[in-house]
Symmetry: C2
Subunit: 306 residues, 2 copies
């Protein structure tokens, strides 16, 4: 199968390089790193063994890329309006587009742009960062769950999972709504709180007041999910998320990095949209609403600083 | 009447000096500024006309002060445990103690220390700061409302109000619970939010998201007050508070100054206690609860720095 990667950063660079390294045909769309990667290849510094890709199928424009069987969309969701022009060149009749992005409501919006395209969600559990051009630093974890949104061909979904596994990536097929909301349980509190209090995951859990607050925010997400009829999600999942984070090395989630580097934060799909979906279903998330307001304020101030 | 002032800072320095300037006998307890004020007097730089007090009845210890008819307590409420020893020397059988401090539950706790003392609340509407030793900078406003908590002598309350007025201070007698909770409508959102987002009142109201958030937090205070049976408080009072703040010059409330100078913040009486009182009465204040947690975190980090 032919793979396309839109957005060769911390996520797309890692999964794309792993697939290519295992022998799959992978075509990478690059932006600022194009010249560098064309000349020097792609380096993955990984806790599970580093490696280098010498001959990378690197492109500056999707017009030059071949139609692909699977497209991994690894853009920041703030740039999803670009998909309208970026994606169309990569599609054939049965292309599966996997949206490896954080948040709720993404597939719904992309499906509106491309009503006939087969979509899946990719839920990455990974700590990685692009530290310099053509170089991905994979710190820990690395599994990915795939969830079918509108793929008519379950076999295709399974093939992709198998090919990820062959590439040494832990991968599972999971239920779409449950997976997206479970991921939000961690993402909604930690992404924003590390920005709002300019801190990292460990300190938020060490302070008694913010440890309780993180838990309450997680319970708001669980409450919303339950209200929306999602199964297999309750306070024991919250306990597990907190336990896992306790055992992690101090971590700055992607939103904190975006804020620090004066890049736009993914506020819409991580906060606005899930809060709105829950509210429309009659469920309120007051503490996450407040967090969103604080982040909107900080983003405005951050923009002024440039 | 003899006045005593405990805590000669931005508030005690201003009201005490105004009373002394108008001819009242005022005895000031000072701490770090004692030597300076004894030698050079007390300077009030005021938007309503500056003045200097040359001969100040300044004391380092309450043991040296005479019993007073009215004691103005202008300490930060984080130091209220000191009142046990500080107050006793100043009391006679009919002393009125006026607690000019921010928060909810203060009078209840001081009354427990001194079950027989007559207490009143003093609600100061003033922008002032102690900028250097013996120097108070009064920027704007300056009125004070007095509310009877346990004074058996309504005439005494009225005399104090009259003497404040004679000193050129706008003063009113108001209802205790209504006054304390109305003050909290402004104090709870703005004190904490200027710390949490490291900003000033004007920017919080200029950003659409935080303007809405401030309003929602104010409505939580109104909701709690209504739930506690307090009259004359509804959303129109919130509109008025926001309107007044819109017309103020950009302002850093006392909590922001305390945080910036690494002093303890008045979290207990401004947040913990009112939130607890409301919760016990069956009313939740989720956004102010979250704000308190953020402030507890920031206070811990601030202590480490300094």
């Amino acid at each position: 199968m032919k793979y396309g990667v839109i957005g060769t950063g911390a996520i797309g660079g890692y999964y794309g390089a792993k697939l290519a390294h295992s022998g799959q045909e992978v075509h990478f769309l690059l932006h600022s790193d194009y010249e560098y990667v064309k000349a020097h290849g792609l380096q993955v510094d990984s806790c599970n063994g580093s490696f280098h890709l010498t001959d990378v199928n690197a492109y500056q424009h999707t017009e030059d890329m071949p139609p692909c069987d699977v497209v991994l969309v690894c853009l920041k969701s703030v740039n999803n309006s670009l998909l309208n022009s970026l994606l169309s060149h990569l599609l054939h009749h049965q292309t599966l587009v996997v949206l490896i992005q954080n948040g709720i409501g993404i597939e719904e919006d992309v499906q509106k742009m491309f009503p006939d395209v087969q979509l899946a969600a990719g839920l990455a559990f990974i700590c990685s960062a692009k530290t310099e051009p053509g170089r991905v630093n994979h710190q820990c974890y690395g599994s990915i769950n795939l969830a079918n949104y509108s793929c008519k061909d379950e076999t295709l979904m399974q093939i992709v999972v198998d090919e990820f596994r062959l590439a040494g990536i832990q991968a599972e097929l999971v239920e779409y709504h449950e997976a997206r909301w479970k991921k939000a349980v961690w993402n909604m509190p930690f992404n924003g709180m590390t920005v709002a209090l300019h801190t990292q995951t460990d300190l938020l859990l060490k302070n008694e007041a913010t440890r309780r607050l993180i838990r309450e925010q997680m319970m708001e997400v669980v409450g919303a999910a339950q209200h929306l009829g999602i199964k297999n999600i309750d306070s024991s999942f919250v306990d597990k998320m907190i336990e896992i984070t306790d055992s992690m090395t101090p971590y700055s989630p992607s939103m904190r990095l975006d804020y620090d580097f004066h890049r736009p934060m993914e506020l819409y799909y991580i906060y606005t949209r899930p809060i709105e979906i829950a509210r429309e279903a009659g469920y309120k998330m007051p503490k996450l609403e407040m967090l969103e307001a604080e982040l909107r304020f900080l983003e405005e101030q951050n923009n002024k600083k440039g």
